[in-house]
Structures are given as structure tokens and as C-alpha cells.
Amino acid sequence: MLLAFGNFTADPSVNLQFLIGGLALGAIYAVVALGFVLVYKSTDVLNLAHGEFLMLGAYFALTFLVSENLNFFLGVFVLLLVMLVFGLLVHYGIMRRMVGQGFFAIVLITLGIATIIRALLLIFYGPTERARLDLLPQGSFEIGGATVRHVDIIIFAVVAACVLLFFAFFKYTRLGLHMRAVADDIEAAAAMGIDPDKVYAMTWAAAMVMAGLGGLLFGHVTGAIDRSIEAIGLRAFPAAVVGGLTSLGGSIVGGLVVGIIEQFANGHLGTKWREPVAFSVMFIVLLVRPNGLWGRKDLERV
């Protein structure tokens, strides 16, 4: 009889499979967490609609790459462009008016946006689930008896490239510098001639492009594309918090840690333990380090 029905299994190849599966899942969480961090770091907004943004990206990927059958690179370009425009719309249409409003009011606004996106997708795409995307290489190979999918390697590479790109962007570009300045002290930044409005708009646009990319990647590894995939936002939240909501690198490490912990909890304890264990890790980290492992500690000067 099986050893692995919610019980510990010592089989090294099975544990290696959990580790590889955890890393693959963690890479997806990292993509989502990057989106959380980008917006929070630059605008102080906790965007609870990020899972829906990613879902929107996955559905748009279906449309441009499958239904419209555009060339892969053209389709991805159109997808990211549409998401960028959508990000600008979110800022200029909604979030701009919320600057200076209470933290929870803004969080509620993001929840409202999430609800509208879910409703629009139901109206325009219907309730039926779709097959996942298969435009990236679908093969796999074995290491130590565990299966590694090519698509997981690609996701890793893309996530790593995104992180490097963001580091370079924040460190070496004028806009990146402006974003950091606005995040640190909006009034001082404005006094120095930086337009916070423009910075916020670019932040939302960049976050939405990340969500589009995340949707494209997640659409290749999820079992089916339907309106339940927005839950990835909630599931990746511990990753962002563990890493620290202001740390790009932390979101990557947080994503990988949470992904691995979830897989091992699922494999050894049973599926019902998967999320409780992940959130417990988040609680413990918050108790020990309230700003996450690599988060910025705000100083209040009196």
C-alpha cells in the first residue's frame, strides 16, 4: 500500500519531485509577489486585485495567442501593451483620485476593481474553463527520478530576468530613481520637481505589464484557465509578506520558500494542510520580523 497518503514518505525521488514542484510553484508566486511589491513599494497601495490582473493577462493571452492566433512575439507584445494601457487607465481613472486617502479605503477600491474584472471576464468569456496555453516548449526531462518541465525552466529564467531588470531599472534609470524618491518621501520628491502623478502612473503600468507576463506564464502551468485562477493572488500573498512588501529580492525568496513549503505540506501532511502551513510561516515571520525578512523598516521621526 502507499506510504504517501497524507503520510511521510522517505523516497528521495518523491521528495525531489516535491522540491522541484515547489520551486516551480514558487517561481509563479514570485512573479505575483513582484507585482504586489512593485505597487506597494512605489505607491504604498496594497493591491488586492493583483490576482485578478494576472487572470486578465491569462485570458488576454488566450485571446491574442490562441483565438486570434497571432505570432507568438507579436501576441505577447500586444498583450503587454494592452496591459500597460489598462494600468494607465487604473491610475488615471481610479487610483489617482485616491492619493492621500486612507489605507483601507484604497484597499477596498482594489477589491472593487477585482470584482469588476471577475464580472467582466464572466460576461465576455462565459463560465466554461479553457485549456491551458501550450505555446512554450512542453517537454520535460528527468533528474533523479523527478520530472522537470521545460516550461518551469523558462519561467525561472523569465523571473530571474525580471528581477535583474527591475534592480537595474530602479538603480540606473531616471524614472527608477524618481520612483524610489517618491516612495521614500513624496513631498520632498515633489519639491525637487518630480511629478508623483506620472511616477504612480508608470508604476501601475509596470505592475500591469508584470501581471500580463505572469498571466502568460501561469497560463502555461495551471491545469485550466478559468475564473478561479485569481486565487493565485491570495496564495502568493504570504510570499510577498514573508519576503517583505518593499523588497524585490525578498519577493523572489519569499515566493520560492512558500512554494516549497506548500508542496512538502501537501505531499506529506495532505492537501488540507497546504495553505494553513503557508500562512503559519507568514505569521511566524511577521511576529519575528514585522516588515518581513527583507522589508524596509519605516522610521517615524518625532
Binding site: L2, L3, Y59, F60, L62, Y125, E129
Partner: protein
């Protein structure tokens, strides 16, 4: 200021256009009904209006109905112009891709019935309530339907956690529930559930019969279950274990999948272990169509492509075959109790016409749509039968339902006079030729597999 708003509106409009362009992919979801001309409709309405299969009985019933003047009973949803009937389920939530078709089927039947003059000279006022698979929302909807609308019956009550929660209220109100989309044990406790979908125990028996046929005898079967971690998933897995082991097969155990899971790596590792160490050669699957696709994709990713699957009715959705990995879906069956319009049954033309009339063209090829359509037809017959007593109420309708009903060939003839179950089901898959569902074997093939025992103690 105005220009800025104009820009925003223009951008929103552009987004709506993009979304509209995307929505219309390659299936019929949400698509407008196929155009039907008045000339086409008129003869069809005369020839194919919903009516019991037996012509003479039908005529008598219709004449009787004309004569029947049942008094209004607004406390039970019967007014001078309408008969109110409700539906509770998931129209926009995580299981909408299966449950919403049930509602559409009912709506289609009533569109046709109302077009033909209604029932007992009254229009059927169909009141579907969306709970998005949430027990809290369902409780509110139930109160609305029973206390505000005062419906005479529910045609469906979706979600095992919801029917479990509402069981005492359904019983207290003596509210008949016709054809719920799940048939779990808690529904055995009251007399109000009239099941035309095979009970979970029956479906487990049916699965055992199909497995035995596929592996050359149940003694050769080594079965592993994969279920969603919800009450009905636990119950179905327990029934499968009971049915397979009683028949002489081996049941290895159950792997549970969390609702909303997007990958099943750990479950696949266990399945592979079951194949390698214990010779697992069949998988039973429980869950929504999306959960089924997640498991099937997980199997494909893990290279587990040579083990057949038989799943409970959520796995009998068309999308399992149209959207699932081909190497897995080719050997997948979904259990269900209803035939779709592509099966050349008596209801075929009527189902198709009513689907179009209601704006759901194409859905007549979906098993859950057929289920809903049948629920409407059974309700129609029961209302007319209840009216023969001179009173139309929840009580008289409940009594009238304890009888036999024609099904227009959608399922086996229903006989609820002795038991409120329907031992009728088959293993289905998608027929690429018609894009509709077809049974692997006729209902009669599986009839001997049902042991007729209901209720189990789950440890």
C-alpha cells in the same frame, strides 16, 4: 476636465471592444441563439411543444389541465397568472461551468412551455438564484425564495455543503426539490428530494461496472481515487471504496485535491507510487470540470498517460474532452444519467429548439443542460397531476411527485413511488462527430451493477 473624462471613457470603450472581441472564441458560451424564423418556429411549436411521451396520456392531461381551475395559493407561489418555482446554485462562481447549464436547461424548457400557453393557464415564473457556491449566500437566497417569493418547489439545489446546511429547512417547509445536481447521503434524511441523477452510491457501482469491463474483471482492478476535498468528494470516495472492494477489486486509497488547486504535483507523485508499487490501473475522479482538468493536466505533466479515468458527473462536462490533454481525455469517462440532444432521443428536437428560444444555442449537447430540461418537464407533469386534486401547493406537489414520470428518453422512466432515487446512469465521453456526449454503453448495460443500497458511515 471634460476632455480628461472623454479620454477615460474612450479608453474604457476600447477595453470593452477588446474584451468583446476576445469573448467570442470558438465555443457557444454566451453566444446569441441561432436565428430561428417565425415560419420555422410556428410548426415546431405545434408539433414539438413539451408534452408527455405517450400521446393519448398527453391529450388527456392537456384537456384535463384546461378544465382544472385550481385556486390561487400565493403562500405557495401560485397566483392567478403565474406559478413560481425556484432554482438555487452557482451561476457565476467556481462551479458555474457545470451548474449554470442546469439552470439554462430549466429556463429553456419553461420558455417553450410558456410559449405554448404555460401550465394550468398560468405562466411559469422561473426564479434562479446565484449563490456562487457560497453557503452563506445560499442561505440568504433560500430565505428570499421561500419567504418573499414563496416558490412552490426548487428545481435543483446545488452544492453538497449547501444542501447539507439547508436540509432541516427544506424538510420543515415540505418544499419539494426536484433533480438536485448532487445526491449525497444527507439528502436521504428527508422526503423532499426527488433524485433523477443516480445517487453517489449508484455512481460508484456504475464506475465499478465500467472498470470491470475495461480491465477484464473487477478482480483485476487496482483503483486509486482522486477527489476534491469537499463533503461530496469524501462521500464519493468512500462509496467507490465500498463498491470496488465488495465486488472483489482493490482500492488503494484516495488523494484529495484542494478546491481551487492549480497543480497536483504531490497527488501525482502518490499516483505514480501506486502504479509502480501496487499496480494501480484505474483512477476514479471527483470534482468540478476545472478540477478535473487540473488533475488530467497533472497526469500528462507527470507522464502518467496510460491509466484510464472514470469520474463523477462534474467530470462529464464537454470541456473535459475539448480542453483536456488528448492523451488523457481519450481514455476518460464521466458518469451521468441524462442523454443529450445528439443521441436521437424523443426530446432531441425540442431540446434544441428550446435552447435556441432561450438564447442558449449549443447547450443542448451538454449533459447538465439535459438534466435541467428534464427537471422542467418533470415539474410540468407533477404540477398538472397535483392540480387534479383541486389544490396546488407544496404538499400536493410533493404527493404528486411520488409517482411515475415520462422523460422523453432523456433518462430511464422515473418511478418515485417506492423510492426517491433513479438507478439510471452510464459512462459518457464526447463524440467528436456531433460535439455532444454519448454513453459508452446503454443505460441497461449498467442496470445490474446497482446494489440499491444507500447511506454509509464515513469514518
Amino acid at each position: 476636465m471634460t476632455r480628461r473624462w472623454l479620454k477615460i471613457l474612450a479608453a474604457l470603450f476600447a477595453f470593452a471592444l477588446i474584451a468583446a472581441a476576445c469573448g467570442n472564441d470558438d465555443d457557444d458560451d454566451g453566444a446569441a441563439p441561432a436565428p430561428v424564423t417565425a415560419e420555422e418556429q410556428a410548426p415546431a411549436a405545434e408539433e414539438e411543444a413539451p408534452a408527455p411521451a405517450e400521446e393519448e396520456e398527453s391529450t388527456e392531461m392537456e384537456e384535463g389541465a384546461m378544465d382544472m381551475m385550481v385556486p390561487d395559493n400565493p403562500d405557495n407561489g401560485v397566483t392567478s397568472s403565474a406559478i413560481k418555482v425556484g432554482w438555487m446554485g452557482d451561476l457565476t462562481g467556481p462551479t458555474a461551468s457545470s451548474q449554470s447549464f442546469n439552470s439554462h436547461g430549466i429556463e429553456a424548457y419553461f420558455e417553450c412551455a410558456n410559449e405554448s400557453g404555460g401550465v394550468l393557464g398560468r405562466m411559469i415564473e422561473y426564479l434562479p438564484e446565484d449563490d456562487q457556491f457560497s453557503a452563506e449566500t445560499a442561505a440568504i437566497n433560500f430565505t428570499k425564495l421561500t419567504e418573499d417569493d414563496k416558490v412552490i418547489a426548487l428545481l435543483g439545489l446545488g452544492g453538497s455543503h449547501i444542501s447539507t446546511q439547508l436540509q432541516p429547512d427544506v424538510e420543515a417547509l415540505n418544499l419539494p426539490v426536484i433533480g438536485p445536481p448532487q445526491t449525497i447521503d444527507v439528502q436521504l434524511e428527508g422526503d423532499q428530494y426527488f433524485n433523477n441523477l443516480a445517487h453517489y452510491g449508484d455512481q460508484a457501482d456504475l464506475a465499478t461496472g465500467q472498470i470491470a469491463a475495461d480491465v477484464g474483471g473487477i478482480e483485476n482492478a487496482v483503483v486509486m481515487g482522486i477527489s476534491l476535498e469537499v463533503p461530496s468528494g469524501t462521500e464519493f470516495a468512500a462509496y467507490v471504496e465500498q463498491s470496488v472492494t465488495r465486488a472483489g477489486g482493490t482500492y488503494l486509497g484516495t488523494q484529495y485535491v484542494a478546491p481551487g488547486a492549480t497543480e497536483v504535483i504531490a497527488q501525482m507523485a502518490a499516483l505514480q507510487e501506486g502504479i509502480d508499487n501496487d499496480g494501480a490501473n484505474y483512477v476514479t475522479l471527483h470534482g468540478s470540470p476545472a478540477a478535473g482538468l487540473v488533475v488530467m493536466q497533472g497526469m500528462a505533466d507527470a507522464g502518467i498517460t496510460d491509466i484510464p479515468i472514470i469520474g463523477i458527473h462534474g467530470i462529464a462536462a464537454n470541456s473535459i474532452w475539448t480542453e483536456g490533454p488528448e492523451e488523457i481525455s481519450d481514455q476518460t469517462f464521466g458518469m451521468h444519467s441524462f442523454l443529450t440532444a445528439n443521441n436521437s432521443i424523443e426530446a432531441s428536437a425540442e431540446m434544441e429548439r428550446c435552447a435556441s428560444l432561450a438564447g442558449y444555442g449549443g447547450e443542448h449537447l451538454n449533459l447538465n443542460f439535459a438534466h435541467g430540461f428534464l427537471n422542467g418537464y418533470v415539474f410540468h407533469q407533477a404540477v398538472e397531476r397535483a392540480a387534479e386534486t383541486g389544490d396546488l401547493s407544496r404538499d400536493s406537489l410533493t404527493d404528486a411527485l411520488r409517482g411515475t414520470f415520462d422523460t422523453m428518453g432523456i433518462t430511464c422512466p422515473i418511478d418515485w413511488s417506492a423510492s426517491q432515487h433513479s438507478q439510471c446512469g452510464a459512462a459518457f465521453s464526447l463524440d467528436p462527430g456531433t460535439s455532444g456526449m454519448v454513453p459508452a454503453n446503454p443505460f441497461s448495460f449498467y442496470a445490474d451493477t446497482f446494489d440499491g443500497e444507500y447511506g454509509l458511515e464515513i469514518g
